[in-house]
């Protein structure tokens, strides 16, 4: 029925099957929208947040999804910015469209969840009007919204490649023209994304009265500023690769050459390796030097469900291990190890975002204060799952109706 919309020469599953899949996602989205709507109407007492946990599931999910959406800006930077100097990076052109779509859905999804996160959503624009230049959150508000606009601009030419839309001459010309100047948007996006990924790290690092989160740093930037940028670029392309692999598994097609995955593996291995060295150094300094000066030691930061297992999981299992796998050619050759390492990489960065949000504020600071435990309610988990369903829906629609993968036809010739 919708064959005319499917890119020429490509096969997609039947419309009823796709319809069922879409219906499932829409139900999930509907559930989340209702839950989110109730939070807006009845106020935030429906969530598991309280006066000890000002930040919770919404912020953790937002931080994680934005870090993982960094594949868009970083792959764009590598492909549009550096590939003229390093021709091997041209391989990324085979996956760049997907990276843009993933970035688009991650950022727009995060913005949607942010509407629920603030107590007065209608005042969200105050970040522009009454901006506090000292606050990291001001920079986050500016750059995330500007970068979301850049991503929309980057997504539009991909949409216009749909064969029905592209057949409309003005739209086709517009789309091609935008493709020609895509490098400008990609590099603008790189600049914006560099700063807001860093500022998200700065959100935690500048809390000088919260020893768990606080870091010294360089000039106005705490070390977490740089660590968040590094961890985002060390996991974003891996996330894109995992999504590509998932689509391949669902569609039972090969969408990109294996060399693309290997290249991403090499890049992520190097970046993750550097990130791990710096992260371990930062953790050691924080735990053994900085915190004792503030009257606390490493053991004071781990308790109950927020135990030392978090440190071992984040840095050991989901940090050093995937870095070693991705740095080794033998590791990159094995699909199990390569994609397993990507998954651990993504899990590690998500865990880092969790650790810098929830345990950071669960840890008591006053000596006579107590640890608290945060448990999100369905009014938090449902909108987050709905956001993930929205991401899946847009990616599904894009895969079905847009020529996302330039090599798909050649790789699946019968």
């Amino acid at each position: 029925m919708d064959r005319a919309l499917i890119p020429e020469g490509l096969k997609r599953c039947s419309l009823p099957i796709f319809g069922l899949w879409t219906l499932l996602l829409l139900l999930l989205i509907g559930w989340g929208v209702i839950a989110g709507g109730l939070v807006l109407v009845k106020a935030m007492n429906l969530t598991g947040l309280n006066d000890y946990f000002g930040f919770g599931a919404y912020i953790t999910a937002d931080l994680a999804i934005i870090a993982l959406g960094a594949g868009a800006f970083f792959s764009g930077f590598l492909y549009y910015g550096l590939s003229r100097f390093f021709p091997s990076l041209k391989e990324l052109g085979k996956i760049i469209n997907l990276a843009v779509v993933v970035g688009f859905v991650c950022y727009t999804g995060a913005l949607a969840v942010l509407v629920l996160e603030i107590g007065q959503p209608l005042r969200g624009w105050f970040g522009y009007w009454h901006a506090n230049v000292h606050s990291m959150l001001t920079e986050v508000i500016f750059c995330i919204s500007c970068y979301a606009v850049v991503l929309i601009i980057e997504y539009v030419p991909i949409i216009l490649e749909n064969r029905k839309l592209g057949a409309v001459k003005p739209l086709g010309v517009f789309g091609h023209s935008m493709h020609d100047i895509m490098a400008i948007f990609a590099l603008t996006g790189t600049f914006l994304s560099f700063f807001h990924q860093g500022s998200l790290g700065g959100v935690a690092g500048v809390l000088f009265a919260r020893p768990y989160a606080y870091r010294t740093g360089l000039f106005i930037w705490p070390w977490t500023f740089f660590l968040f940028i590094l961890s985002a670029i060390a996991s974003g392309p891996a996330f894109t690769a995992l999504i590509c692999r998932a689509i391949e598994k669902f569609s039972r097609k090969q969408l990109v050459d294996r060399s693309v995955y290997e290249l991403i593996g090499k890049i992520e291995g190097a970046l993750l390796g550097v990130y791990m060295v710096l992260k371990i150094a930062d953790t050691a300094y924080w735990g053994l030097v900085q915190s004792p000066r503030l009257g606390l030691n490493l053991g004071d930061f781990y308790w109950g469900p927020y135990g030392i297992w978090l440190l071992i999981a984040e840095i050991g299992i989901c940090g050093v291990l995937p870095a070693l796998i991705l740095l080794s050619p033998a590791g990159r050759k094995s699909n199990f190890l390569l994609f397993g390492a990507f998954l651990l990489d993504v899990a590690g960065v998500s865990l880092n975002r969790f650790v810098m949000t929830i345990p950071a504020i669960a840890a008591p600071v006053m000596p006579f204060d107590k640890w608290q435990v945060y448990i999100p309610t369905v009014y938090e988990t449902a909108p987050i799952l709905a956001m993930l369903a929205y991401c899946t829906l847009i990616i599904s629609l894009s895969y079905r109706y847009l020529p996302l993968f330039p090599r798909e036809r050649e790789l699946n010739r019968v």
């Binding site: 106020a43 007492n45 000002g54 809390l207 009265a209 606390l296 030691n297 600071v365 006053m366």
Partner: protein, 251 residues
């Protein structure tokens, strides 16, 4: 002018609370609640959701009988005086919370607050509360609300203001009396209500004021001094074990 270009005045309002006198009666907390139109719910058992500008902590020395000791520590907002910004004013994205450098009071503009709760996360003293609900007072109780303090809507943060409305009244009176408004002093509701006279309030920079003198007492301490927040609420106790609980100490 400070190095950072902040004007520094000769007035820095602060408080000294004598823990040897405090008996934990909660009169300060109740007076604050009444003075500042603090909302309440039918069920106030969840202390992590109820709003209390002046919380009273119960401290113990952790020992067993007969060495067991306890005390009470009333905790208002500390109105931190750290050099650049207080932990909370530094992070607010919309300048809803700022420190008035003419008197040191950390204020909060409720209609500007977007409810991001970054200031709540930044505060190590848990001095800030969030309005998780729209406040609702039973019908006749609305007539008891003070007209000098605005009520707050849901979705915004609030905290102790050192009864800023009383400062404004004192300054107006000084102006009408022809005296210097900058030298006006006042007493917040908590200090007024304390039956043990444990709370002393005034200008910390006035060496002749009682609060200025008490803040320099050898038994005076600040909570979490190591974090360099420079709280303007001091505590006094002759008991070692209480002073030791004021800050974390790596053993």
């Amino acid at each position: 002018m400070s190095e950072q270009g902040h004007t520094q005045s000769s007035v820095r309002f602060g408080m000294v609370i004598d823990l040897d006198k405090c008996m934990g009666c909660g009169a300060c907390s109740v007076a604050c609640q009444a003075e500042n139109n603090i909302s309440f719910r039918p069920d106030e058992s969840n202390k992590l959701r109820s709003i209390t500008w002046m919380s009273v902590f119960r401290l113990t020395n952790g020992a067993n009988y007969p060495d067991y000791k306890y005390t009470f520590l009333p905790r208002p907002c500390m109105h931190c005086d750290s050099p650049h910004h207080s932990p909370c004013t530094f992070v607010c994205p919309v300048n809803a919370t700022t420190r008035d450098e003419s008197n040191g009071i950390v204020t909060h503009i409720y209609p500007r607050c977007i409810g991001c709760r970054y200031c709540i996360v930044a505060c190590p003293y848990h001095a800030r509360g969030f309005n998780w609900w729209d406040p609702k007072w039973p019908e006749p109780m609305e007539s008891m609300l003070s007209p000098e303090v605005s009520t707050r809507m849901r979705g915004v943060v609030e905290k102790c203001t050192f009864c800023h409305q009383r400062l404004l009244k004192a300054r107006s009176k000084a102006y009408m009396d022809g005296t210097d408004p900058d030298k006006a002093t006042y007493t917040p509701a908590c200090a007024d209500a304390c039956p043990a006279k444990a709370i002393v309030f005034g200008n910390l920079r006035d060496p002749e004021s009682e609060v200025g003198r008490l803040s320099k007492d050898p038994n005076a301490f600040q909570v979490l001094k190591k974090l360099n927040t420079e709280p303007k609420v001091y505590y006094i106790s002759t008991q070692d074990w209480i002073r030791k609980l004021s800050d974390n100490a790596v053993i």
